[in-house]
Symmetry: C2
Subunit: 313 residues, 2 copies
């Protein structure tokens, strides 16, 4: 059994291959070719922590993957990261454990960022005049990095609540070659950008429907668990096209779940990103449409990026 640490993974991973593998994973998922058992969740009330175990097997694949992710929100006070995690890759032909990827959650961050990249490539308007990034954390950074191969736009408006974090993000984005505007008003971002990525753990809507201009694409990443929300449900309802990673999962959480529960949209309006990649459904059909991709995170992404990480070594 191979033991691989985060440094090795980050140094060697072939991100173009990872994009391809994740796209294949989304297609297989939407074609019903993936075994995804129920997510196992723990709550550690005394330690303000949680853990989830996500596992997936794509029919026909040589391997399957078990991922353990933890979030312990008092960790920063102890000098530790809040999020940690690892992935196990096992043989689907004889059950032998093949690899332990001690990625400390990095692969989860990257597979999420690459899903955002895929979503933007499929759905963003032809001409992006400014990217809007909601949030200043790790995922806000990874998303901006991963948008560079799929848009020529090098202007970003970033929204956050903390001046020091906005300044730090500004430095980061400038180093990537972006012209950066920081704001504490989400309205400023919504009015100024037409490719928006929402990356916060917010539990209340941050973006109002009336602020968003026709032709804008929004990728919503943050609402990956029940109770989380970044978008006004009216904005979800206003979208001309709504793509999700998993219809079944988006009934339970994600931006779409709030609009479904409020009766503002119907499940029949939703299309899966795997079906879009497979050419079975349409994406954006005009420059004026508002489009939304709601990504709640599916285990097939973990299985595919883990396989890619191994193949890249």
């Amino acid at each position: 059994m191979r033991i691989v640490d985060k440094q090795q993974i980050v140094a060697h991973i072939d991100l173009a291959l990872a994009v391809q593998r994740i796209e294949e994973g989304f297609v297989a998922f939407s074609n019903g070719k993936v075994q995804v058992p129920p997510v196992q969740m723990f709550a550690f009330a005394a330690a303000n922590g949680d853990c989830c175990v996500k596992s997936a097997f794509i029919e026909g694949s040589e391997t399957f993957t078990v991922k353990v992710s933890t979030g312990f929100y008092d960790n920063p006070g102890k000098g530790l990261e809040s999020n940690d995690g690892l992935m196990l890759v096992l043989s689907a032909s004889d059950g032998q454990p093949l690899a332990l990827l001690q990625d400390q959650g990095w692969l989860t961050g990257m597979r999420t960022a690459l899903a955002g990249r895929i979503a933007a490539r499929l759905m963003a308007p032809r001409e992006v005049y400014a990217i809007g990034i909601l949030g200043t954390g790790m995922q806000a950074r990874m998303q901006l990095e991963q948008l560079r191969p799929v848009t020529a736009c090098r202007r970003v408006i970033v929204w956050g609540r903390n001046d020091a974090e906005l300044a730090s993000y500004s430095d980061f984005a400038a180093e990537l070659g972006f012209d950066v505007q920081v704001t504490r008003e989400a309205k400023t971002l919504a009015e100024g950008a037409n490719l928006i990525v929402c990356t916060t753990p917010s539990r209340a809507a941050l973006l109002d429907s009336e602020w968003v201009r026709p032709g804008t694409h929004i990728t919503a990443i943050g609402a990956d668990a029940p109770g989380k929300q970044e978008l006004d449900p009216l904005l979800v309802a206003r979208a001309d096209r709504i793509i999700v990673d998993s219809v079944v999962q988006c009934r339970q959480y994600g931006e779409v779940s709030h609009a479904l529960k409020a009766g503002l949209i119907e499940e029949a309006q939703l299309g899966e990103i795997g079906a879009l990649l497979d050419g079975r459904i349409a994406g954006r059909t005009s420059d004026d449409e508002i489009t939304l991709v709601d990504l709640t995170g599916v285990a097939v992404q973990d299985a595919q990026i883990a396989l890619c990480a191994l193949q890249s070594l």
Copy 2:
């Protein structure tokens, strides 16, 4: 993160401590103090294999455990064991992965054998005149080994279908100091032994009710998944006392499930081993009673033996 292999675990584990930890685990489980998310199961039809992921956290414990077990039934033809597995132990206070136990399924075998040892200590008749072991595989061996500390009996009757395997088991038991009788007739075993342990993967009843003598204790280990069965449901119904590891799980599978579905017993007759260990319910009350302990395997046993293995190093 500590990486520990099977040899280290087998060489160092403190089995008396493991018994204590597993008993504590059963008590916590029966008191509702254990988080046990749904088992994740995969089926690998093309490779004749399966995998399950079992995870558990005992409230108040410093750690929690995720176990991955595989069974690939064509492996022996490739020179590999059918069963493999590993356990991950993580901190319940900060989420950090603490250890990977590459036990290759040994800890699962041992926690099962120790549950049989606990069951016999609690429920066996005062005078055991012969132990009966149904099956000749790894678990049949581990069970006999683990009965030695809890009974003075050194006579064993072993049932199997294959003469070579019976001969091999006979050698094994003789080396442990047992006077051994082998048989291919389950009736011979049932009539001759009053402490019976059933360890086969049978999918049909092997022990008829009328063969079993008053005063006998039976521990049923094999029926750890839907469809498996070793006992005549009439024998389950005849038992004066039925103890299970998990009432909820034994509704779904195990010997008890067949008798429940046939309407031969009622759930109210079942008691959990954790409640028995905790002194909240009674065990055997006379020398003439037939008693049954039905063990389907619960993840709290994995969590507790993993912790013990780590503490023993």
